[in-house]
């Protein structure tokens, strides 16, 4: 969703286009830039509960993330290296986390 909005820009910008963590593939690395829906975003109905749970476990703005494992059915759930910890979560829940993908990374958005 986010990727589509940015694909028309230059290829350099594509590399750093924000994606949700839920759409990342194994090896994707980046920095959390937002948790939860942006103000007035009609696409994401993310509960305040999910938002706070994600933040409590360490998904806060500025945290570094890397997808290190994927489940074997539909590559769901995912295991994420979050700063110096590891967290497992479903892709649906990871949709609430917007990530700025680090340039020159192995993975990409789906």
């Amino acid at each position: 969703m986010y990727r589509r909005e940015y694909t028309e820009i230059t290829s350099q910008d594509v590399a750093v286009a924000p994606v949700t963590l839920g759409k990342g593939t194994k090896g994707m690395r980046g920095t959390v830039i937002r948790v939860g829906a942006a103000e007035g975003d009609p696409h994401c109905e993310i509960g305040a509960e999910l938002e706070r749970r994600l933040m409590e476990i360490g998904f806060v703005e500025g945290a570094s993330v890397e997808i290190i494992h994927e489940g074997f059915i539909r590559r769901d759930p995912i295991a994420v290296k979050l700063d110096d910890m590891r967290v497992a979560l479903r892709r649906r829940d990871a949709e609430a986390i917007l990530v700025r993908v680090a340039p020159s990374n192995g993975g990409s958005a789906i």
Partner: protein, 624 residues
Amino acid sequence: MSESIAAPARIALVGNPNCGKTALFNALTGSRQKVGNYPGVTVERKEGSFVTPGGHRVQVLDLPGTYSLRARSPDEAVTRDAVLGRLAGETPPDLLVCVADATNLRLVLRLVLELKQVGRPVMLALNMFDIASHRGISIDTEMLSRELGVPVVTAIAVRRGGTADLLDRIDRIANGESLPTAAATWREPTRSEIAAAHREVERIIGVSVRPPARPDTWTARIDQILLHPVSGIAVLLAILFLMFQAVFTWAGPATDLIGGGFDALSALLAASLPEGMLRSLLTDGLISGIGSVLVFLPQIMILFFFIILLEDLGYMPRAAFLMDRIMGYAGLHGRAFIPLLSSFACAIPGIMAARVIDGRRDRLVTILIAPLMTCSARIPVYTLLISAFVPREQVGGIVNLQGLVMFGLYAAGIVSAFTVAFVLRRLFWRGEADHFIMELPSYKLPDPKNVLMGVLQRARLFLRRAGTIILSMMLLIWFLSSVPGAPVDATEPAINYSFAGMIGHAIQPLLAPIGFTWEIAVVLIVGVAAREVAVAGLGTVYAVAAGPETTGLLTDMLAAHWSLGTALAMLAWYVFAPQCVSTLAVTRRETNSWRWPVVQFTYMLTLAYIAAFITYRIAGAFGG
């Protein structure tokens, strides 16, 4: 504002999950522990006591692990209320000891910042300090203490003397050292307050902790195998296979010994007492009642040995990760995997283990379907009926038909459990999926002493909870099946004249459509206490002498009395029937409401009747 602690001090241990809090609790209190429940809720309450080197008596409460005081599960609500001093019937703690995994400080430091707002003295104990040092993580405890504004001690729970620093500090506090205590201002943090707290923690870590010189690379390497889509599943299946093997074969000798011991005791008593009610009560009621509880103990201890071992290793969240998607198809949570696995031994520990699921709906669905997993108490019934009615033939030259039927019964249990979960989700809790967000902790070598203490604790809990229920049910069933006694000129077995016999005759018309005779009706009544009691019940109604050769005789007797359709219907019945009062009682305890055991009983009974009806009719159509 400051205050000192008057003896006997009460301290509460708080911390994130997987921080080694229980190990520290065990190290402090040794065997002086009491495990019970908080009044009104089903959260386990663990309390212990110890005496410090300075001679101060301290009572310590081990609170459920949490990341935040903003509670989501009943466990976390207890932690919040206990530290806030709001928990009914609980004296507020004088000191909160926040236990941290020294190798993983980020989240626990945020918890410390929250704890500081509850208006009680707080101390931070850096547990697993040896592992942190080994990895070259250098923590400036003085600086950390200054920045956090709370005392900081180090601890190595699994090492002898590893709690010296903590004990010394408790002594100093007990001797009057004052701790800074902020005013009680805690309320649920908002989104921006959580973010601000994380930034503050980031700053504190920046000035007081040097990152590891030799980071933990083992966890990542092991995860390459254990979380791998192919090898991860293979290892999980291998572990499950080993667990099953262990539960059903290692436990064998101990189970036989206990069963044989009680039979011998019963025979001894029968020989030394005169014939009559008292003898019957002692041998058939009391001793066989205690025996029927104790025979499950070896299996349950082995099961918990594996579960606690895997938990301490840090494997359980990985198993939940691997299983989450499969379980998700039925609307279940990845964490439901462990409770359902335990239910193959016995639904009671399974239902108790459902506490690890923090979502209420996920937990309820898991509790409701746990008894559909084929527990070990069904095995004697299955074995008896299969050996009486299923020919010992090879199918296609390789597969044993009897084994195939047994496998089919297990599969029927699993498939129906998942189907029921799916339907429950669709009917009652449509679209309200709980979240699945779980820390994957570093792998750690389990401490044998902690594993042993955990197993013994589970065994005690099982005996106390299940034991009292099963035993009292056995006594009630004894009463129903022995009173009133047979008349002098009795031509039939005594049980036929008893209350159980009368009830059996009364409900037989209801069971006729599924091919059950009145004898089976009697057995179903006595089998309400526990499933395996049905085998002994069949022996009684068909007046087969009890003894080691019972099963053989009973097999012939059943083959002569029952049609194939009746036998198959009975098997189908046993896959679903709520033939275990203890399970219903534990469901009542764990959900704290009569509603869920009633729901459980009703849906299982309905399924059992329908399954038996269909089986009987189909078998009849094929000439069974």
